[in-house]
Symmetry: C2
DNA sequence: CTATATTGTTACTCATGAGTAACTTAAACT
DNA sequence: AGTTTAAGTTACTCATGAGTAACAATATAG
């Protein structure tokens, strides 16, 4: 009788259907694998990390990984996808918010320092360049250039509207990324240096440089 | 008779002694190997470069390399020695020349951009961190910290003498190195960007930042 | 001119780690 | 409830590349 009631009250579908469907579960697992892999790569570097290491962290065996990624390099490719989405998303926001070029640049820097706290992004920054497959390498280069180009545009806009002093936006964009990406190699949220002070110091250099006037 | 004259005119030692002694030749060859290795590492990265690749570039066979270096990692260690000497040498010069802290910082930057044109230095910058052997890793870290510390001192001096605006010298030194070392990854002397313009742009950021006042 | 240390070679060993084949267990849709 | 598809396992192959042993040549010093 009890059984009957249960069955009667809940629709058959609701009873048997799991909360997440297969595709969703797969995505979640893929993300976890990327996260474990990225953490491992940040610890020991891409080449010193074996797929067995990653599998161990994820508590599965190596061949299982191949159900989620094509091969080792594909992990980097997938990390790059995540990175590209987040960084371009940030740029979308910054541009949408508008304001003078210099202000947009400030907003971008603030957001970027936030973003590079994430292991997957850090992994991407550190290992972009390792790509062996020429097609993957080209794609990576293209995506990187795309982002750099958007920042260059913001700087260029700043020069036009007078908020940024006349300069070579290409070089400035590259130098800015060199510094920001460098940060991702050493900065840890847990350390003594707060997020705010780091952003402050970076913005102070960008706005004023270091000379005393 | 001719033979006799020759022998009589030139001292026996001068006749038979080669221009360079063994130790000197060895040093020159070691340097060439480091240069070939560094170029290979910059091309394809440390792990994608085999000792056979390096041997081929140097036109010898792999085991010969072991006459000059202990093992693969030792190449990085020896590149680091070269880098340490040159960078510390630059710092010696800069400090000896004297002047206000900010001027010394300028001089250092100028010299550093010059230095990172060299393949051995570039190789060191790119691959410092790859060290597997814990002793070698510690030594590397120590040497790197030493250099950073000296730049920090220069900045601190600038803050004291008023030539540098009040700031956190530690963070500024790190950010500066992040940017400068980033340059070493992409800048080539042969490219369209002249040495002078690059230094100009870097110095402009350091002195004024990019905001228009 | 000869003995000896140096520089180099050929031909291996040996560990590692990416990728695969074949099989088992678990989940989910009808 | 039973069939199918997904997810995972064990047990391999296979290439690569660091490092070595044993042997060959070349140059230097006495």
């Amino acid at each position: 009788m009890d059984k009957m009631n249960k069955k009667a009250n809940l629709s058959k579908a609701a009873l048997n259907r799991p909360v997440l469907n297969r595709e969703e579960k797969r995505q979640i697992k893929l993300d976890a694998i990327l996260r474990h892999a990225a953490a491992a790569f940040m610890d020991r570097g891409y080449y010193k990390t074996s797929l067995d290491d990653i599998a161990r962290r994820h508590k599965v065996t190596k061949p299982t990984l191949y159900y989620y990624v094509r091969n080792k390099e594909d992990i980097l490719v997938k990390c790059e996808e995540v990175a590209s989405l987040r960084i371009n998303g940030l740029l979308d926001e910054v541009v949408a918010t508008g304001g003078a070029g210099f202000v947009q640049l400030q907003n971008f820097i603030e957001g970027y320092v936030e973003i590079i706290t994430d292991d997957i992004i850090r992994c991407h920054i550190r290992h972009r360049g390792q790509r062996e497959d020429p097609i993957a390498r080209d794609a990576s280069l293209k995506m990187h250039r795309g982002i750099e180009h958007r920042v260059r545009e913001i700087i260029g806009k700043g020069v036009e509207d007078g908020s940024v002093r006349p300069c070579n936006p290409t070089i400035i964009a590259i130098l800015l990324f060199d510094a920001l990406n460098g940060i991702s190699a050493w900065y840890r949220d847990e350390g003594g240096l707060s997020h705010e002070e780091l952003v402050d110091q970076v913005l102070l250099i960008v706005t004023q440089g270091v000379r005393n006037n």
